[in-house]
């Protein structure tokens, strides 16, 4: 792969949108090319900066009932009928003034670093579901999953069997947190997918209570030299319960 092609693909790579084989080619090129490595770092920085600071508008509280009302109307009528949704201009000015910009409440994480970490973990989680890249290794045996990570990273994170508690081990994959490859261990519970990121707490130990971020529940703690970060669409109570199960079973 030459620099031109590498540059063309860098952002897709940073976005986690590349097929594994091409990604490996690109990584091999970037490893040996200072200019492309700098470009990759820059692309990551821009993506993260945008990612962390993106403003979000929330739907005004009364919009849901308005939508339900137009849908009810729609039901009783012929398919081809188009409702005339009129725009009360006078109201608009008032509504605008009152409504303003409601930037989504950002979480109360203790530091920017932690916030970045959490945002990245949520991103990894939602992305793992979207791009069908949930699992690099599929196995319900915790020893197999652990051995797979050891082969990839040189260390095996604690992988626990939670089947008795109703959480089925699905497998694992390598993901990125704070610009490092970290193991993501995946459990399933009913229709829910749980991503458990586990990595050595050598640089920084994390610890934060269960909280909700962009519709996902998450919590983080450290134990015996490893950081644990859970992201899932479980309720906050269930996330706490999951944390208890994992804590109990790790040494």
């Amino acid at each position: 792969m030459d620099c031109n092609e590498a540059r063309r693909l860098l952002e897709a790579c940073v976005d986690g949108e590349m097929e594994l084989t091409r990604q490996l080619d690109l990584e091999a090129h970037v490893a040996g090319c200072t200019a492309c490595r700098k470009a990759a770092e820059a692309a990551t920085k821009i993506r993260d900066a945008i990612h962390m600071n993106m403003p979000v508008y929330k739907a005004p509280p009364d919009l849901k009932s308005k939508v339900q009302a137009v849908l009810r109307k729609e039901c009783g009528s012929e398919i081809g009928w188009i409702p005339a949704i009129r725009r009360p201009l006078l109201c608009a000015a008032a509504v605008l003034a009152v409504c303003g910009l409601s930037v989504a409440a950002w979480m109360k994480a203790s530091s920017d670093k932690e916030r970045a970490l959490i945002a990245q973990a949520v991103w990894d989680h939602s992305h793992s579901l979207l791009v069908d890249h949930l699992l690099d290794v599929t196995a319900s045996d915790q020893h197999v999953v652990k051995a797979w990570f050891t082969g990839k990273l040189g260390y095996g994170p604690p992988v626990v069997d939670l089947s008795e508690a109703g959480y089925k081990l699905a497998g694992g994959r390598l993901d990125i947190l704070e610009n490092r490859q970290v193991p993501a261990i995946v459990y399933r519970h009913q229709d829910h997918v749980i991503n458990e990121f586990v990595w050595p707490a050598a640089n920084r130990a994390i610890d934060f209570d269960v909280q909700s971020h962009q519709g996902y529940s998450m919590c983080g703690w450290n134990k015996s030299g490893f950081n644990y970060l859970i992201v899932s669409d479980l309720s906050q109570a269930d996330t706490e319960e999951f944390e208890d199960h994992v804590r109990e079973r790790t040494e």
Binding site: N4, R7, R8, E11, A12, D15, E17, A35, K38, A39, E41, A42, A43, K45, I46, R47, A49, I50, H51, M52, N53, M54, P55, V56, Y57, K58, A59, P60, L63, K64, K66, V67, Q68, V70, L71, R72, E74, C75, S77, E78, I79, I82, P83, I85, R87, L89, C91, A92, V95, L96, C99, L101, V103, W106, D112, R115, S126, H127, L130, V131
Partner: protein, 179 residues
């Protein structure tokens, strides 16, 4: 799927539809708001989009792609709205920039408080031309994949990549100098 009368959607359909798509209300409003830039317009677009999606509900095959399918409808409703009410916003084609340049490494200013950083980004985002604004919103906020973006925008994946890249570069420049 269960049998339905040929030309009417029933109250059951509506309940089923609402269960599937009302959870995406915030996403729909956010997208419509960023495309139209105004609260009242976004509300109208969202209501139109729900009606359109409801009518097309029968053509919807279900599954995990409901969000992307629905957001595509929201986006189309927003474009219809623009055509009708704000034709001056109509897509001005932007010159394709050449690719492969090194992106400047100047980052967003780290010293700035994050509130301020977000405010800068918001202003830069508002100034983006529509075709770049929508791609960054759909990708960053609505989490569509490249492939879903290509379908939603009706363009090849290569165009998705180059628009996303241009959008980011402009946001970066905007947040650095243009506030």
């Amino acid at each position: 799927m269960r049998q339905r009368r040929p030309d009417k959607l029933t109250a059951d359909d509506r309940r089923c539809f609402e269960e599937l798509f009302l959870p995406h209300l915030d996403a729909a409003y956010n997208l419509a708001r960023w495309i139209t830039r105004r609260d009242q317009d976004a509300r109208d677009v969202v209501q139109n989009a729900y009606v359109n999606a409801f009518k097309g509900f029968r053509g919807f095959s279900g599954g995990a792609k409901s969000r992307a399918w629905f957001l595509t409808i929201v986006r189309n409703a927003a474009y219809d709205w623009i055509k009708k009410h704000a034709p001056e916003e109509k897509l001005i084609p932007y010159e394709e920039e050449k690719h492969g340049d090194i992106i400047s490494i100047n980052d967003f200013n780290d010293e700035l408080a994050s509130e301020e950083r977000r405010e800068q980004l918001k202003r830069a985002l508002e100034r983006l031309p529509l075709e770049l604004r929508e791609v960054i919103i759909l990708y960053e906020l609505e989490r569509l994949t490249y492939k879903e973006l290509a379908v939603a925008l009706g363009v090849p994946i290569g165009t998705v990549m180059s628009r996303l890249s241009r959008a980011r570069r402009r946001l970066q420049e905007g947040a650095e100098y243009g506030t």
